[in-house]
Symmetry: C2
Subunit: 256 residues, 2 copies
Amino acid sequence: MNILITAGGTSEKIDTVRSITNHSTGRLGKEIGELFLAQGHRVTYITTPQAVQPTKESNLTIIEIDSTKELETTLLEQFDHQKFDGIIHSMAVSDFTTETTLSEDLFIEKLAAKLTADGHLPDATDLRETLYRSLDEIGKTIQQEKKIPSGTDRLLLFLKKNPKIIAMLRKQQPHAVLVGFKLLVGVSTEELIRVGQSILIKNNCDLVLANDLEEIQGSHHKGILIDALGQTETAQTKKEIAQLIVKKVEEKWRNQ
Amino acid sequence: MNILITAGGTSEKIDTVRSITNHSTGRLGKEIGELFLAQGHRVTYITTPQAVQPTKESNLTIIEIDSTKELETTLLEQFDHQKFDGIIHSMAVSDFTTETTLSEDLFIEKLAAKLTADGHLPDATDLRETLYRSLDEIGKTIQQEKKIPSGTDRLLLFLKKNPKIIAMLRKQQPHAVLVGFKLLVGVSTEELIRVGQSILIKNNCDLVLANDLEEIQGSHHKGILIDALGQTETAQTKKEIAQLIVKKVEEKWRNQ
């Protein structure tokens, strides 16, 4: 099979020296990649600079990206000249990217000017609408400085929605076996399965691996693999998760 | 000499999986640490998990921290039982830490409520004051969620000032030879020296290493070491910067 794996975590730049990072060691992606390779499959592996990588070999192509936008561009380039049989989307992708950063002082100056643009304040009934429009204009028009000014007590960071990568994967590669990932924090097993299923349905995945940050520690990594029939299998380590995913993806591919 | 080095870059948590990171490879700190050790000095080395570290040896103690607040606590603990002769503060410390994160919808709801708290909008003359007070209250009172909600188009992140570590270093260890660092982006040599000098005076440093991100690439790393008399020496690599700093710190210590 021709396999695509995304792993690691994206970073969204705030300025030239700071960014918002989604933490991910990439160790689970590495396990999955190495197991697909060991089974004789070809792997295109898209990851981020901080994450660990599978051991290099001839059937493996590694591509590094930083931001969600770069991930999107890189994936579209790949889809231009490759068709994948299986896609394992384990990268921790930022839902939001930075739009603008401004000091409290500048924000209040801009907001006050917008609220009183008509020579007076809006009616209480028009207030919310004016606030939405003002925030939108401030978010879109204020140019980001090269480095954030340090002489202010409070900064406001505007973040805007990133493109949804998982939806794009299904749209671009309709016949691939698609595995989505969902990481939650401190929820029950029932909730984990419920959210995993909803992600599977919403994004038209074949499988979703649901896991909880509080169940990942050292070699222990609990993961629940959910399929489109709602059936679940549970693994307790990264190796077991990799084995489950490779087995299920191969099965689904054979049965298509 | 008993030397303290800070290196790497701090991270400020947004939620359990995301943080704002100040990028720093720690490679310059490693060079400086290893050169002090090679000269027979004792080194306490405070760094961050992503940064490279000096090669372990008996005269070296390494301590890892994440956030600026943790750095402050760790330094104060060290100062309780150690007196340092030289302090090299090369860590990229975040000027701001996360205060709260909220969706545009929740922000506008809260702000509209505060603006109309008296049953009507404030006068245009009171508007700014009301906006400052409202932002302050929203920043301080809204509890952060475990993971940011993804179902909103825009997020607002409130950041507040971190404690100034360099000022605390001088206050706590008045007799140490103190070396500050200043990283700028895309400025002239004159501007670099001007800003470096102002940092030196403001924080009562003995030396400041001023460098420009655009002059750091591969083995090339231009650094200008400025002393309290305004004299400067320029290095072109990390090794040369380390040599300059070790030489100057030893000299200043001998001449005290």
